[in-house]
Subunit: 252 residues, 2 copies
Amino acid sequence: MSRARDSGSVEYFFNSQSLREDQLFQDMLPEAVKAFEAMKQIVLYPEGSMIFAEGQRPRGVYLLSQGRANLVMRPKGKRARIIRIAEQGEMLGLSATISGEPYEVTAETLTPCQVGFIKRDDFLSLLREQPETCFRVAQLLGQSIHESYERFPLFDKTLPASAKLAHLILSWCAGGEETDEGIRLRLPLTHEQIARMIGTSRETVTRAFGEFRRKQIIQLEGATLLILNLAELESVAKSCQRSQKLSCLRNF
Amino acid sequence: MSRARDSGSVEYFFNSQSLREDQLFQDMLPEAVKAFEAMKQIVLYPEGSMIFAEGQRPRGVYLLSQGRANLVMRPKGKRARIIRIAEQGEMLGLSATISGEPYEVTAETLTPCQVGFIKRDDFLSLLREQPETCFRVAQLLGQSIHESYERFPLFDKTLPASAKLAHLILSWCAGGEETDEGIRLRLPLTHEQIARMIGTSRETVTRAFGEFRRKQIIQLEGATLLILNLAELESVAKSCQRSQKLSCLRNF
DNA sequence: TCCCAATTGTGACGCAGGTCACGTTCGACT
DNA sequence: AGTCGAACGTGACCTGCGTCACAATTGGGA
């Protein structure tokens, strides 16, 4: 598929900090880790295949050990909304597996993926046998809730599209590389994908990028993004929607 | 404040099913419940006061035993967005208390409230002592994640306002009373509050209600809402945004 | 090297809905 | 019953952005 947007060892910056397998293993007793590994079975998925779909009864948790996957919601009849892009090391389907509710999102592989799978029953009984692990999982779920609230502005209708794009870019900065010109980072996403992450159209994303470039806020060279004016970007992100121009004028 | 919108024994239908104290107690060992109760301290909040604010380091969990509270996010400089209205019996601040992340939302009392409070350290050590409770809490968090994804359409910009209102109304139906005319339920919210739940303006809510009434989908008498045509309401909720009229016409 | 499909860039147009400005109705309290 | 503030109802206007259409790049494979 496509141009060389994802060639090489791309590192994503805006992935989940919490739902990572290593987050779970850290602090875990060695034998717990061993039991965990023992019940894990490895499955390979080709690019573009579906790991699970929203609405399905939860079969268990998936550990994305290799590859990258899209987490989307598809309100029927509409373009799928990208909730998040999951990177290697993440656990998928955790909340559904624990609560027994259906999977909330659909996971589709963006690259060939190697995935570890643990059946729901096995996972639950492991949690009951290992209170430490169970506690850790509860913490991870709590963090994951926190992260979804942080993503909230991206879904907020009342923000103008440029503010949402600014928000998204800012969320990537953490993983960027500081230079004396500004923060430099790789941007291995098409405008189309970005549009589906912030709930807008491809053209609007293109135009917003153009506007940022004109304002010297960012600079683009291929898939490399250079943030020249972080402060201004932050102010755009906050820009509290519609111009109050009119109200101001009226005061005269 | 206000007209008699909330006089009498109002029952809300669209509250959380998962973050309820009784959900937690169910299946809990009697002594666990007792330990739980023992560390709970009761606090009274007058109407309009704040229980906790988004961004604050978590002090502990709050059990809303009497009264009603607003959970809002306030992107600074903008009208607060109502995430959910919490009813008596709900636990607030659970995910933040467990994960240690700051509270994600602000909780403000809409009526005088009686609230039980458990300090974070106490709560955490209780979870470590009682694996059963810990497991139960993890399940509740999972369910709570599921519920937030269900609320997702309300935040989706691409849906027209009327569809989001329809969604919201549908989420109330579960608690309604079946009659031969349709589902009857109390609607103790102002248009302004509803607007802030679906991210639109007060006027738009008023107009959407008017449209539903004209189409004989609903009927309003004071704060009582009668749903005449459930099927039509569902179809409005799904109405997949912008009219494709133009594209259709072009086919000829 | 050339070609081609996938991306990016840009203008034109239309409309949903935010905002303002009013008028109307409701219900609580005196 | 009269008053008054809150909530509801409605028209006018304007803007952001979705959509369509088409041009200009870009980079990987033949």
